[in-house]
């Protein structure tokens, strides 16, 4: 799905750089198609790439291993969750091929545009979009329940809550955030479906409804969702940094506490998406304060990650490079969020490319850099073989260059006043002066996409040809490295017993610079 999302990005990015010229490999992009592409790019990347990979993918594989469990608490619920997700994917793909095409009302599906098919000309594409997203959320909900139950009930002997790896903490906090925020959105989605099909009028003013109600429901979910994606990514990074700097994670408990605080705060920031939406302007100030305050716990975590490097002994495997790259890039995404969080500045930057640049600097490191870090790090555990480090470094270099080239110019594009989702910037004379930045960004995207070829080849070729890996090739402490590579049906050969915290590296007086968290019983 990431390839589909990337291809859609290529189509509309090309159109932005060279308006109304046919796109090589596709042809002419029209305004309706343009809206469809941006809508589906956002939908796919957030709901079908970031969330399933970070939560379900890494979570399902790592969580039982890291807490020393033989399997998830509800293996059948797990399979049901998987097949529901599969079904949701089918529904979403089908929506591209129904008459009228896929949905084109923006990934935030604001009514009334999304509530009356006549406004976009997309009938079935919209209904299927809602159905697909609802199914996907049900699947994620089942997954989250499974994670929490597994964590609470199946931990190995000695695995106290405050001995769990940060990743396990993060997956659980993310699951809780998802569980509490998704209800309003599923309700909103079905109300919208009722509006679309039965003209019920929840969100239609002519029938007594209110379009802003939907925005509240959507962002009450939508903003915590950002942290649902961010937390597992921070968890992945927290597992990798200590191993490759041979140091304990700096401030293990405070990181957990600050994550919990951020989790609570994430529920009271949603209206910063609505500063200029027509809500009472007096509402803006409290939401601005909570939004800017949420930078504090995340600043704490990031500083703790950076402090982990301090007086370490850092080696640069590809996994570590991606982890470091994630932190370096995410910092820019984090600080630019303050601009959007400030009500007065938001009047100008809202719905411009500044926002696009900001959330790509947040979500790209989260979704892709952290995922790649995780894949390079755990690939030996998954398949018993290493990925090629050489091609990994080529992949890293191209990804980082391409990403920055694609998104750094967009901050300037936004400051120049370029509003989002317009199909042809050349129609606006005041935007002519930034046209070259669109070209630059598109070249960046092409480098970024091309840069993924070495990764894909590396991933599949290494399955057979990669260097063989022993059980614990990185000399890491957490329990998954006690299990054989790849882990067998019941994960561990004998049940592990946990005797210490997860990040005991370079302990003074110890014989070696790592002490595994568990011992075989």
């Amino acid at each position: 799905m990431a390839l589909v999302g990337g291809y859609l990005a290529y189509l509309f990015r090309h159109q932005l750089a060279w308006p109304n010229e046919p796109v090589p490999g596709f042809g002419q992009v029209g305004p309706d198609q343009y809206n469809m592409f941006v809508t589906m790019h956002g939908t796919i990347m957030v709901f079908w790439v970031a969330m399933p990979i970070l939560l379900s993918g890494f979570g399902n594989f790592l969580l039982p291993l890291m807490i020393g469990a033989r399997d998830m608490a509800f293996p059948r619920l797990n399979r049901l969750s998987y097949w529901t997700f599969f079904l949701s994917t089918v529904v979403l793909i089908v929506s591209f091929f129904v008459p009228g095409g896929a949905f084109a009302g923006g990934w935030t599906i604001y009514p009334p545009l999304s509530a009356e098919p006549g406004y976009t000309g997309v009938v079935w594409g919209g209904n299927l979009w809602i159905l697909a997203v609802a199914l996907e959320f049900v699947s994620m909900l089942m997954g989250g329940i499974n994670f929490m139950t597994t964590t609470l009930s199946l931990r190995a002997k000695g695995m106290a809550l405050f001995r769990m790896p940060i990743f396990v903490w993060m997956i659980n906090v993310a699951s809780i955030l998802f569980m509490f925020s998704v209800g309003p959105l599923i309700a909103g989605a079905f109300m919208l479906l009722a509006d679309r099909t039965l003209q019920v009028g929840f969100f239609l003013p002519a029938a007594g409804g209110d379009p802003l109600l939907f925005q509240h429901l959507f962002w009450f979910f939508g903003h915590p969702e950002v942290y649902v994606l961010l937390l597992p990514a921070l968890g992945i990074i927290a597992e990798i940094l200590p191993v490759f700097s041979r140091k304990p994670l700096f401030g293990y408990r405070p990181i957990i506490y600050s994550t919990l605080i951020a989790g609570v705060l994430s529920f009271v920031v949603w209206a910063h998406h609505q500063f200029i939406s027509g809500i009472d302007p007096r509402l803006a100030m409290p939401f601005s304060i909570t939004t800017i305050l949420i930078s504090v716990p995340f600043a704490f975590s990031l500083f703790a990650y950076i402090a982990t490097l301090w007086k370490g002994s850092i080696s640069f495997s590809t996994a570590m490079l991606f982890a470091l790259g994630m932190i370096a890039e995410f910092l820019l995404g984090g600080v630019t969020g303050i601009v959007n969080g400030s009500t007065a500045a938001d009047i100008y930057v809202h719905d411009t490319y500044f926002v696009v640049a900001h959330f790509h600097y947040t979500l790209f490191p989260v979704t892709f850099l952290a995922t790649f870090a995780g894949i390079y790090y755990w690939y030996p555990k998954l398949f018993g073989r290493f990925l090629s480090e050489f091609w990994g470094k080529v992949h890293f270099t191209l990804t980082l260059i391409g990403f920055n080239l694609a998104f750094l110019p967009l901050f300037s594009v936004g400051i120049a006043g370029h509003h989002r989702r317009i199909f042809d910037p050349s129609a606006f004379e005041f935007l002519h002066r930034i046209q070259h930045l669109h070209v630059l960004a598109t070249v960046g995207l092409i480098i970024l996409l091309t840069g993924q070829i070495p990764f894909i080849l590396n991933f599949f070729l290494s399955l057979r040809r990669g260097r063989l890996a022993e059980a614990n090739p990185w000399q890491a402490n957490t329990l998954e490295w006690i299990a054989p590579s790849p882990p067998g049906h019941r994960n561990f050969e004998t049940d592990p017993v946990v005797v210490r915290g997860p990040y005991e590296y370079s302990v003074p007086g110890a014989a070696k610079d790592w002490l595994s968290q568990g011992e075989a019983s």
Partner: protein
């Protein structure tokens, strides 16, 4: 990056730019500082033979002070930003000044319908001037607008005024601006509103008082001529 800001032509635009600049310098300094420390650590503590890592779990308050101090500073800067921006927001969005001139703006797929009150200064009278995509206002006057949407959500976006406000069907949202320069400036829709969203554009004409009065007179005359 901030050099790309379009020229400001409104009384409050300078204050918005000031907020953006203030945030830019504060977070920019933090960003550079964090990256420099980060890169310095990566370079200084790279693996070298004969040197091993130091055990620092960061459990004591003393060790954590290295993080808590900058975090406390960030908290301080956050509040400072809030103090700088709050009055600007209040001036622009929370208070409506006494209007020198009123105008109605209504977004519809994919045009802006603009109603000028005409010579009598009253809406819903015979001399109301209806314009499409043309917002004509006098310079140095407080303009209060009533914003509506006919079908879907639109967003009135006039970059040079630093003005953006969503138009929501079913609501009338009031706002204001005061232009400080005459000229013609772009006006656009900033909220996705369908296939023509990217083409939904208009012009803001800021005229000096005599020109503006002349324009009103001519338009009204043209209106009343029609049998």
């Amino acid at each position: 990056m901030l050099d790309w800001l379009p020229e400001n032509i409104s009384t409050y635009g300078g204050a918005i730019d000031h907020v953006i600049r203030t945030i830019y310098y504060i977070v920019g300094a933090w960003f550079v500082l964090a990256e420099v420390v980060f890169l310095f650590f990566i370079f200084k503590y790279r693996r070298r033979p004969g040197r091993s890592a130091t055990y620092q779990p960061g459990t004591s308050l003393k060790a954590l002070a290295w993080i808590l101090l900058p975090v406390a500073l960030i908290l301080g800067f956050d509040l400072a930003i809030e103090v700088v921006q709050a009055p600007v927001w209040e001036e622009i969005k929370q208070q409506l000044p006494i209007a020198d001139y009123k105008v109605r703006v209504r977004g519809r797929q994919f045009v802006w319908d603009i109603t000028h009150p005409g010579a009598d200064g009253q809406f819903d009278s015979a001399d109301d001037i209806q314009a499409v995509n043309q917002l004509v206002v006098p310079v140095n006057r407080k303009i209060v607008f009533e914003l509506e949407a006919a079908d879907v959500i639109h967003s009135l976006w006039i970059p040079h005024l630093r003005l953006k406000q969503d138009a929501v069907p079913g609501r009338t949202i009031r706002g204001w601006f005061e232009a400080t320069q005459t000229g013609v400036f772009p006006l656009a829709c900033a909220e996705l509103c369908g296939s023509g969203h990217g083409m939904m554009k208009g012009e803001l004409h800021v005229l000096n008082q005599p020109d503006f009065e002349k324009w009103v007179k001519e338009e009204t005359a043209a209106l009343l001529e029609v049998p």
